[in-house]
Symmetry: D2
Amino acid sequence: MPVPKSNLYPDFNIVRLSHVEFMVTDLAASKAFYADTLGLQISYEDSETVFLRALEERNHHCIILRKGQKAEANVLGFKVYDEQDLDKAEIYFKEKGLPTEWIERPHQGRTLRTQDLHGIPLEFYARMNQLDPIHQQYKLYKGVRPLRIDHFNCFSTNVDESVAFYNDLGFRVTEYTEDEESKKLWAAWMHRKGGVHDMAFTNGRGPRLHHTAFWVPNPLAIIDLLDLMSTTGYLENIERGPGRHGISNAFFLYIRDPDGHRIEIYCSDYMTVDPDLEPIKWDLKDPQRQTLWGAPAPRSWFEEGTTFANTEISDSQLAAQPIVAP
Amino acid sequence: MPVPKSNLYPDFNIVRLSHVEFMVTDLAASKAFYADTLGLQISYEDSETVFLRALEERNHHCIILRKGQKAEANVLGFKVYDEQDLDKAEIYFKEKGLPTEWIERPHQGRTLRTQDLHGIPLEFYARMNQLDPIHQQYKLYKGVRPLRIDHFNCFSTNVDESVAFYNDLGFRVTEYTEDEESKKLWAAWMHRKGGVHDMAFTNGRGPRLHHTAFWVPNPLAIIDLLDLMSTTGYLENIERGPGRHGISNAFFLYIRDPDGHRIEIYCSDYMTVDPDLEPIKWDLKDPQRQTLWGAPAPRSWFEEGTTFANTEISDSQLAAQPIVAP
Amino acid sequence: MPVPKSNLYPDFNIVRLSHVEFMVTDLAASKAFYADTLGLQISYEDSETVFLRALEERNHHCIILRKGQKAEANVLGFKVYDEQDLDKAEIYFKEKGLPTEWIERPHQGRTLRTQDLHGIPLEFYARMNQLDPIHQQYKLYKGVRPLRIDHFNCFSTNVDESVAFYNDLGFRVTEYTEDEESKKLWAAWMHRKGGVHDMAFTNGRGPRLHHTAFWVPNPLAIIDLLDLMSTTGYLENIERGPGRHGISNAFFLYIRDPDGHRIEIYCSDYMTVDPDLEPIKWDLKDPQRQTLWGAPAPRSWFEEGTTFANTEISDSQLAAQPIVAP
Amino acid sequence: MPVPKSNLYPDFNIVRLSHVEFMVTDLAASKAFYADTLGLQISYEDSETVFLRALEERNHHCIILRKGQKAEANVLGFKVYDEQDLDKAEIYFKEKGLPTEWIERPHQGRTLRTQDLHGIPLEFYARMNQLDPIHQQYKLYKGVRPLRIDHFNCFSTNVDESVAFYNDLGFRVTEYTEDEESKKLWAAWMHRKGGVHDMAFTNGRGPRLHHTAFWVPNPLAIIDLLDLMSTTGYLENIERGPGRHGISNAFFLYIRDPDGHRIEIYCSDYMTVDPDLEPIKWDLKDPQRQTLWGAPAPRSWFEEGTTFANTEISDSQLAAQPIVAP
């Protein structure tokens, strides 16, 4: 079995994924997408950056848009349980021979910047500025009513290696696909916060960010977003869905922001807090793994992604092929 | 403009579409589909036939399944306002040189059998056996919770001719697509009962029945059906959707029954009772006309349909081509 | 049986209810309620009036707010099939000894003003200015997403008389409650356009307007409105609901506008176009008739209503009492 | 401030609430309620007991129905992280002078029985028999589609004491109400698993179980249950709702089982995994705290509850009064 036994006692406690920072080439266009269309709430903005949070969040931001020449992802951010966990994290990553650095990040406390084994830039912090709750300010609810950031999904050239690395950090595998011939992992979904995933890996040229997902209240919110996007000039930004995933059982939609960064809108997965939860294995040839209703993903979904700044990428060696819509 | 001015004063009053009779090759399999999976209610059954009604209907049946060798549609049934309308109908169709016949139909009153100009078999009646209301027997609600039959859509080799014929019967065009070069109609949606359509015509080899639609309470019912069908052996029966139509603005799903008869699950269109409602015209090249969200229909959706018993079919002469998913 | 046999052949054809005109004491406050909160669309406004339509309507208006000293309803408007029907209407009402008058109404064609047997002011027209369809301008969808005006419900001192009058106009009874002792009607629901009702009557001091209803896409729209109203200063405007009606089976909510005019938000009733639809009778003592889920209506719901301008009111003689929440 | 600072480092790790055992006087009636009506899945049954689980759970049971003379709750069950936590739990409770006992429990591993400071019977275990996932067996979805057990809410004669006790166990307060005069807690909501609560306490005669809640996919599931219960003989079992809570922001319904045990159906609260989440305080006089939409709870909701077997109860000393519906 290619999935490692869950590490129930990691060296330090990562609570959950926290935020992503995107370089965007047209800040106004991105703001129109994330704030006006999706309905994320602006917590701070200036001529170079827009910080946004989702409707039930009190953390200052879950997504940072930073004006730049090239559309990339700068970092994936994670929240740890307390300040001591940050110090333990520094020791942990140093021991793995990974670069670490303490950096200043606006609206965040002490922040440790590092990277994973394949070069994905990561940052960890314990406390971020807290804002007043707005989850009952219903006049703010619009767009797809995004409630919180839910997960990241990254292309990895070696999913087994990625899984081993994050497993050691305490991320527990909930579902995975395996290539029957090589017995290597094609993809895996791993969680910290009690849903199906905080981080997932999909075989492919990488490392690249495949998508960032937001949780919404129910499937009708996703239908509302499709109606809105398709009639306000965002028809081309709709990439795949809506549908019900096989893996995770969530109801989903994939869209692309003005720079092509992929966003997933997601709801209705299941709770995974039990330490003895057995990972669910899917056959790579099962057409229902991605969409329970059978519709294959378009080629773009398998191939396109966001590069990480200053991070070299390479091709995957795995020969397995997914089922692609023509 | 290829759409004729509505005939607001037809010779006799057709209230609405009423029912369809399908020849099915495996009665048990069809019963499992329509009753157990979709949730239609059986009002009568024997070794040869199953009569079903939808949850808010009091009419004895909206769909008849009849065991046969070949999967076909025997007739499309329509309800008229009163018995005098039946007599007027007989005169009307005779004057058009169309064959008419009074026939015995179980659970229905006096029934006039005839056909439209292209040979689609039609029957008209004024009163059908009434059953007790069950719309508040919520323990019966299952599957996709079908509330009533909503419309028929037929392939026609000459949509202009079909539209002229049904227009004269009082069906009013609500939406249509026109081929810009020839100025001929590609498709048209026509109503009697106050929704977007009772009858629609789509250019193609015909006459054939393209689909029969049922109205459901809301889009979540459609998502429920997809979840159910995809996990109870009906994955291959899901043909297209879910999605939001451009034309009609309805939320839809297309599925195929065990014989391949196409069924649409439909909700959320709009009211059309106003006599001065202007038909909405769509460009045949507009990718949003079929799915507001852009996804093109699969080739099968454009090509496959159900033949009518004892009815010759021929190819359409119209050269216009729709946008087809690869 | 107190319900008259439906008049299937009225003298002239009323298509549907069309609009209501309210006198409002604070035009800005009413506009904030109907446009900003409910989501109706303004088609015209000046310092004295605001005309609004709902999202799938093309008719210029379904509700007129007119600034005045006293909060009243000026008139209930109905659309007829064609101009000849207006002339027939004039003859019809004159023959009943009711006052008739041709009046100028902005944005409407020829309009006949009259009143019903108890003095409810009515106006009839055949054509109203048509606006462009906006039902697919999803960026306009907000509040409770009202799609169209659905019905009026009036207090009547003699429901049997009201029903006889409207029955003669072609309104067909779909449901009713009867007082078992006197065998008199307590309430009745009557339709023209194919839903459960266009006009309903409830025993009480009158004639007064009990409520005006708008149709919305699904129950989640109603939940959204409750969330919005309760957090934007309209908590006190929520009167009753949400719930499922016994009578009509619709999902509902009752709210009061800034002047106390009662509005119902309504969806999911059933189609009634069949001429042979049998009216459903409910026992006045059945606690499930108003709310299938049992919750009785508050006293205000039974007692409060909007008076009609220049219309005398009197008490009902009927002694029957409804079940009232304490 | 009456709410203690969260204990972020409890002696042992309680993962979540797990199950409740009810004594029921009519096992068949209870089974009809929980399995046939609510839609919970039977994992084991014999003549004395029925064990049920919810649709996304793999744990053998979340509710046990045991035939008995008197309708009571026997125990509230909690899952701990590992076997070592059970041993630590034994030490912990012994040190507090509370009785502990190792007991055999069917379908569960080693189980420690004890009680809280006021006598609520508790049991802890690390591993329970795991069943195959059924969350994608959509043909099993019926009733209110309960996905998992969500929380317990208990009456406590001294909420400050209860909160201090569970806080020391690592339950973190998310929301609370305080009596302004005495500064004592009226009620508090406390979590382990990342939602608004696993355990909540409400001032009142106790200790008694106020309710047990199940999480469902969305508000339409709750509307479906109300439609079903009100038309299948369970009208009297509907106690309060549906509505939107102020506290927790969840959409809710309260029902009573055949013995009067109160069940809450609950969805759409918010994620609370962040250690620095500030508790939200509500004023006891705020009518929106219980129902954001304002409707007060009925007297039964404040007064009735389920006693715990073999547990003495007493009255609360707190004089504060909630707002009660007449």
